[in-house]
Symmetry: C2
Subunit: 350 residues, 2 copies
């Protein structure tokens, strides 16, 4: 690290453990349906996956919230399910129903998946989007690439759709742990390939979304959430020592501290249910934190939004910190509330 130039961009500074004048801010799903300009592009794009695979349109929707709000980071417009799609599993997004996949439920289904080494060719349009963004983004905005974590992606691959309890994936993991491990191993490799290609195309930081980490009991969390994240972090570090990684093990609760230390990620994204005060004492000494305003506070706006955002800023804003939501922004969010939140965060410490 001795030859590393100190980062100039605010978000990268925070991830390097440096204090910034006010915290950088971006919001999960900031390119999305709450924006009229997004809905316009989306309506013209065909399917949701068509939009993900159209570099020009994906570039445009990624840029929209940057233009409107001046966020400190842009996150590539894409989806965590492009990886199973690249591995040859049929993925469709049905209106009002979410993603639907032909489920992979046994050894034969796992053996039939394509090789992780094929991901880079299959997802070439995604990396073209990244290259375009690298050119078009303002100089002070950090470009974040991302992927789903193996466990969360596996819940969709095995279950065939989203589910409140991840029952299908859990039952496979509990009944045939070695079979399930094979799927996780494939996903570790595929995720490293996918994130590496994003870095090669211009991504400057990476986020790994483990939306369903919190539903795993300790022994399974260790095996299927923590270890894969650690392996991904280590492999990326070997290739790109200067690219920081943020992990979002949603709902990890008391296991977050162990996860943060053991995976070696630079940033930990906190869900809405994490106490900023506890996080300040137990997690911020380990590295940069990110989070965690309730997306529904952004819908409500007003005094309650301001008070709870201030609570987060006062607890965490004095250490390395990135302001964000505790989960993705929701479609019914009034765009003007986002503007007010951005001003509030930028004014912190001023």
């Amino acid at each position: 690290m001795s030859d590393r130039k100190a980062p100039e961009k605010k978000l990268l500074k925070a991830l390097a453990g440096e204090k910034t004048d006010s915290p950088p801010i971006w919001l999960m799903r900031q390119a999305g349906r709450y924006l009229p300009e997004y809905r316009k592009v989306r309506a013209e794009a065909g399917s949701f996956l068509d939009l993900c695979y159209s570099p020009k349109l994906a570039e445009e929707v990624t840029l929209q919230p940057i233009r409107r709000y001046g966020f400190d980071a842009a996150i590539l417009f894409s989806d965590i399910l492009v990886v199973p799609d690249a591995l040859g599993q049929k993925v469709a997004f049905k209106e009002g129903e979410g993603p639907v996949l032909d489920p992979v439920t046994d050894s034969a289904g796992i053996a039939a998946l394509g090789s992780p080494s094929g991901v880079k060719a299959a997802l070439a349009p995604v990396y073209e989007t990244v290259s375009r963004l690298k050119q078009s983004l303002p100089a002070d905005v950090t470009l974040i690439g991302f992927a789903g974590a193996p466990w969360t992606v596996a819940t969709y691959m095995v279950g065939g759709r989203g589910s409140p309890d991840q029952a299908a994936a859990k039952l496979l993991a509990y009944r045939e742990p070695d079979t399930f491990q094979k799927l996780i191993d494939i996903l570790v490799e595929a995720t490293v390939e996918h994130l590496s290609a994003q870095v090669e195309a211009g991504a400057e930081a990476l986020q790994i979304f483990d939306t369903w980490a919190g539903s795993l009991p300790e022994l399974s969390f260790e095996r299927f959430a923590l270890k894969p994240a650690r392996a991904i972090r280590a492999k990326l570090k070997a290739r790109f020592p200067h690219v920081p990684v943020i992990a979002f093990p949603r709902g990890a609760g008391g296991m977050a501290e162990h996860y943060f230390r053991e995976t070696g990620v630079e940033g930990l994204s906190l869900d809405t249910g994490v106490s900023p005060l506890v996080a300040r004492d137990r997690l911020q000494p380990i590295g940069c934190l990110q989070g965690n305003l309730d997306p529904l506070l952004l819908v409500a706006g007003g005094a309650e939004m301001r008070a709870q955002a201030a609570h987060i800023l006062e607890a965490l804003g004095h250490g390395p910190f990135i302001f964000n939501l505790g989960h993705g922004i929701v479609p019914q969010t009034p765009p003007e509330h986002v503007g007010e939140l951005v001003r509030l965060v930028k004014d912190f410490g001023a």
Copy 2:
């Protein structure tokens, strides 16, 4: 407490902070659809609420798992939504859809609710079930009464049904905190009345279910989950100093420690995502713990169920501890897996 006789029943010993030879065991929703004898009674009972309000049938289904497995505790067969029903809000359970209520969405709706003092009369059949159970239960089995916590009950009352994000209740709480507080205050009183009547009828321990506690951000958790639980605990303590209370603030994560200390409850029930190792170090010094096997491990059974149950027992079984699931038992659970689990827990330490 000086004139208090040491409890004889295993579950009450654990809640008094005493070590037991092997941990007592019961399972959330142990009277339920996974049992053929339950499905038989359920089919004859009319609606789900009819079953809750039929003392003879509710007694029978409460006893069924005790007969079959010899659990250390029986939990009254009832539902958390009998309280809004008693307050005059229309509640129906629709097959395959769950509970449906006429939503209470504003001050007028809250003002139209009945008085908490009417709960005891409205729910007389429930207390008759408790009285019957007091007579029919084996002498070594503890009878647990229960209620939903105000926040969780409010999510159903305001939303009109279950929801993955509790959006309706949160938006009311965020937009009109004082209006929402009035609803919470009514529910605190109603819950105290309901739990008191269960104790008067023979309940020996109480559990408060806050299923959605974990979705609240810190300031809201403090106001709408922790403070109501503390108020309920204090009011019950004044009336029934020797009746222990278990709270289940599901998903509370890092806030569980603060909640456990501040509410003064004797027992804390842990969800599946809580690390037994972290709980042993941070929570068990405060009081008795309960939990937290993944209900899907009980569906899967086999080596994985045994290994993860053993992990919980080894971490927590040496202090005051009640073995339970991390959430309610699910309908597809094979009854023989429950029998194996009970034997495994009873053999612990032998």
